[in-house]
């Protein structure tokens, strides 16, 4: 079982907490899927609202690991301040570091990401950087002190799946011992299974479950697909080949004219 900053998770399913039809459905999706990590955020609180306290109680009662994010941050300084506020609120050193560089694709800003990651790692954070499949960027993030990488499958919220399988395979092969989570862009359980079959250690998603017609059923479907993909990877899949090879023995076949 892969450890993320020394924590062995009971399942390879990390699930977001946004966009659900109701808090009750959010809770049921987590319980039924056995997702082991919940991503959360920090946002402005109105005086007297107490919305944050209610949400915090809901998440705490799920009994899962909490991974706060810096979603929406476009500069290292903004992400660093957000991370520090999240650490105080959620009482964890874990941070899903997002430094967005392109507003349409929500592609990470590689330069800002490395700068923020280095600062946060120096400050004792356990950084889960939301990154691309770029090998050089991965190298810089590891140099900065990150012990986990979270390459995107596709842009956030698109549901396109693994749009660059070659790049992801290369990243996996280049750093076989670095825990990696496919984060963002998945729309279907089969895509999560594909990620796990490729050797990734976990999958993080939100929209595909929360915006499904039946979020609880979709969360269960993803959980089963992630488990299936992990089992398949560990079962050492056959190598593909170009030409057919009969699976039924030819020896003993009746000679018929």
């Amino acid at each position: 079982m892969t450890a993320f900053y020394g924590v062995e998770l009971p399942t390879a399913f990390m699930l977001g907490t946004a966009q659900y039809p109701s808090p009750a459905i959010l809770g049921e999706a987590f319980r039924e899927s056995a997702a082991s990590v919940a991503t959360v955020s920090v946002r402005r609180e109105a005086a007297g609202a107490q919305a944050g306290e209610g949400f915090w109680r809901l998440i705490r009662d799920l009994g899962v690991h909490v991974l706060p994010n810096t979603a929406g941050c476009h500069s290292p300084s903004e992400a660093i301040t957000t991370a520090k506020m999240a650490r105080e609120l959620f009482e964890t050193d874990w941070i899903k570091l997002e430094v967005i560089g392109h507003s349409d694709s929500l592609q990470p800003d590689p330069f800002g990401l490395v700068e923020a990651a280095a600062s946060l790692c120096r400050g004792g954070f356990k950084v889960f950087p939301y990154t691309t499949e770029d090998l050089v960027l991965a190298d810089r993030l590891l140099d900065a002190g990150c012990e986990v990488l979270m390459p995107w499958g596709a842009p956030i919220g698109t549901g396109l799946g693994l749009v660059n399988p070659y790049g992801l395979r290369s990243l996996r092969a280049q750093y076989p011992d670095v825990p990696m989570v496919i984060d963002a862009g998945l729309g279907l359980p089969s895509q999560a299974a594909q990620a796990m079959e490729m050797g990734f250690d976990a999958v993080l998603l939100n929209t595909a479950v929360a915006k499904a017609g039946d979020p609880v059923a979709m969360a269960i479907a993803f959980a089963k697909a992630i488990e299936a993909g992990k089992l398949a990877r560990n079962a050492d899949p056959m190598d593909p080949r170009d030409m057919a090879a009969p699976s039924t023995p030819l020896i003993g076949k009746a000679f018929l004219q």
Binding site: V42, G52, F55
Partner: protein
């Protein structure tokens, strides 16, 4: 004096962050704070001076992906 709290202009009389939170009605809410873009831990709010024009951010746990 006029300051900004979560992007909204406010008139306040308090001069440190802890007192500002109390004056603005946050009470004992579970919030984290930043002043002019810099994080201010809970333990440093009382010693954090607030001056006219300062930008105070007050955040709480929320849903996220």
């Amino acid at each position: 004096m006029k300051i900004s709290i979560n992007g909204v202009a406010k008139d306040v009389t308090s001069t440190n962050l802890a007192a500002i939170l109390h004056e603005a009605g946050y009470g004992d809410a579970r919030v984290a704070t930043a002043v002019n873009g810099q994080f201010v831990p809970v333990g440093q709010r009382e010693s954090c001076p607030i001056e006219a024009g300062d930008q105070v951010e007050i955040v709480a746990p929320r849903q996220g992906g």
